[in-house]
């Protein structure tokens, strides 16, 4: 175990140093541009066990990602249905960094359309959530109904026979650009491409089972939001959530307080294409009683003074106690003991991403369960005991990768192929992600 008791942060800085030292021992033929300049295309011949650094910082590539991935055949997370329960309810959201709105119409249907006026492109809705009968762009008051159809254009016929739109202008030709929306057990996804396969097929049976483990049809209740912006490319975070190898090393909090052990049964599961994944753990201590007195800490000096923070109860069937599921292209569903959250990755250009966290429980949770979810949220989010390690380290990664666009990362823990694993010491799902990324991007 690299986490020597008491060594704390220094261990990790040393470890990071060791990893970067290892990187320079790459064979020369896999370091395509010795002058450090970014290549503009191509992938190392070795395939997904090598990841070129330029993909994390190239602004032109990000433009292509918008088109090929986020406007392509993908289901993008938009909102929870319980955020817009009533006719007229709406939520502002994003697909990549493209602003959209989810609105419930008078018939109860969910509509997702762009938050961009068809006239001059104004992002007209500036409220996070609300209730409306229609949307009016403030610039020239073009007005849209809850389905995104254009219903009014001021001075369409001009004023005193002057001005006005051409005689052949038809309002039905100028709706807001609409996405196809789908809802699965209280979760709303949308796609710019109407040919995207049905959501259940998109996930595949195995991933759908993990999804429906949390979203089993029970009514949900939002507990609150957290938002952060991290100066790193969005793929670094998505890949981090598919990489169990770091969990026992980077997340020293879990290890040192005995909350996580490498010996715990852990699994990496994927869909057939390798684009979705689930990191699964089965913790022994998540039994009926799991107070601080039961916790075995690897670092004898470290003991929670407020053990109430982590007193989980088992609430899902089966032995799995932690399932972190990534759904291509940019959603992570978090079930870490009793803390549940949607983590919506919103790329902000090539060099930054926003992480929008929506924490939730079930409408029928009792007060004790809600309190547990709120307490265990201390592990997650922009101030989470565990998740700050990830945001910080991917920002470190961006700082190391961006100036060395010609360098290549090594991803060959547990082999070079794309495969599931029954261990944490594996990077098969990371390779699966990049292989699918290459396929979609044509790289």
């Amino acid at each position: 175990m690299l986490c020597a008791p008491g060594a704390g942060l220094n261990v990790f800085l040393a470890l990071l140093g060791a990893l970067s030292t290892e990187e320079v021992t790459l064979p020369m033929d896999e370091t395509p541009a010795s002058n450090g300049m970014a290549r503009t295309a191509g992938w190392p011949a070795a395939g997904p066990s090598r990841v070129p650094a330029w993909i994390y910082s190239d602004p032109a590539l990000f433009q292509r990602e918008r088109a090929a991935i986020f406007r392509g055949r993908s289901w993008n997370y938009i909102a929870l249905a319980c955020e817009i329960p009533e006719p007229g309810d709406f939520k502002r959201s994003w697909v990549a960094d493209m602003p959209v709105i989810a609105a419930r119409d008078a018939e109860g249907g969910v509509n997702v359309f762009v938050n961009r006026c068809a006239h001059r492109g104004v992002e007209f809705c500036r409220a996070a959530r609300g209730n409306a009968t229609e949307f009016m762009c403030p610039y020239h008051q073009w007005t849209y109904n809850l389905k995104g159809d254009l219903t009014a254009v001021p001075f369409r016929k001009g004023f005193k026979r002057q001005g006005g739109m051409p005689a052949d202008f038809r309002m039905e030709d100028h709706p807001l650009e609409k996405l196809v929306a789908t809802e699965r057990n209280g979760v709303i996804f949308a796609s710019f491409d109407a040919s995207t396969e049905p959501f259940a097929d998109y996930l595949g049976d195995k991933m759908l089972r993990y999804f429906e483990r949390v979203f089993d049809g029970r009514a949900l209740r939002v507990l609150g939001y957290m938002r952060q912006v991290v100066p790193a490319n969005w793929k670094l975070y998505f890949d981090n959530q598919k990489d169990p190898y770091h969990a026992t090393l980077l997340h020293y909090f879990l290890i040192s307080f005995g909350l996580f052990r490498a010996s715990e049964p852990s699994f990496v599961r994927m869909d057939a294409l390798g684009r979705h994944s689930a990191l699964v753990s089965q913790k022994g201590e998540q039994g009926e009683v799991a107070g601080g007195e039961e916790m075995k800490h690897n670092d004898p000096r470290l003991k929670l003074a407020g053990p109430r923070m982590l007193q989980p109860v088992r609430e899902f069937k089966g032995a799995d106690t932690v399932v972190i599921q990534t759904i291509w292209p940019a959603l992570i569903v978090q079930q870490q003991s009793n803390t549940l959250a949607m983590r919506h990755v919103i790329p902000r250009g090539a060099g930054a991403y926003e992480l929008a966290w929506t924490f939730f429980g079930y409408a029928d949770d009792d007060d004790a369960m809600t309190e547990r979810r709120l307490m265990q949220a201390n592990l997650m989010g922009p101030a989470g005991y565990v998740s700050v390690d990830d945001s910080e380290v991917v920002a470190f990664a961006q700082d190391g990768l961006a100036p060395y666009g010609g360098s290549v990362g090594v991803v060959e823990m547990d082999g070079r192929e794309i495969k599931e694993a029954d261990t944490l010491i594996a990077e098969g799902a990371v390779r699966g992600f990049y292989e699918h990324y290459r396929r979609v991007m044509g790289l």
């Binding site: 609150g224 957290m226 938002r227 991290v230």
Partner: protein, 165 residues
């Protein structure tokens, strides 16, 4: 100081005491003297850092949620021993203290704050802006926070919040 002093002090004296408490609190944080941080709170305190969006919409989620001084100590332990983060210095500016009430031995105050963050290789920037909603009592012979809610306006947190506010 005794609980009775809370009732006896003049408005001006009271304000002086609160300002001194606030100054001591933020200097302890800015000096990275984190071990002293829990001492500003009562044993059964509540400390939360809450996005304004949640607070105003009645959503109970906080990004930090400590109940009892032990959980404050755990945060300090994690910062010192377990969490990975880039080196940084924080500087709190507080002001506009408003005393909202003084009853049953509890002072209710609102104080504006801004936290500046200085990190490696970048100019200092405003990290977090908000207000403290405090409930202050006399404990162990001095003023302590029975409850401190840091309700922040900042819509997105730059990278991560490591240190207490």
């Amino acid at each position: 100081m005794t609980p009775g002093d809370l009732e006896r002090l003049s408005q001006a004296e009271l304000r002086g005491e609160i300002e001194a408490l606030t100054a001591a609190y933020v200097h302890a944080l800015d000096d990275a003297d984190l071990e002293r941080w829990p001492d500003f709170f009562t044993e059964d305190c509540v400390y939360k850092v809450i996005p304004r969006e949640n607070y105003e919409n009645g959503l109970p989620l906080a990004i930090w949620y400590c109940q009892g001084r032990g959980m404050l100590q755990d945060r300090v332990t994690a910062i010192r021993e377990t969490q990975l983060f880039a080196p940084r210095a924080l500087r709190h500016i507080t002001g506009n203290i408003l005393v909202q009430g003084r009853e049953d031995g509890v002072l209710r105050t609102v104080t504006n704050y801004a936290v500046y963050e200085s990190t490696l290789d970048r100019a200092s920037e405003v990290f977090n802006v908000g207000r403290y909603l405090d409930r202050i009592v006399v404990a162990d012979g001095r003023l302590k926070f029975a409850e401190k809610l840091c309700v922040f306006d900042t819509s997105v947190i730059p990278t991560s919040l490591i240190h207490p506010i």
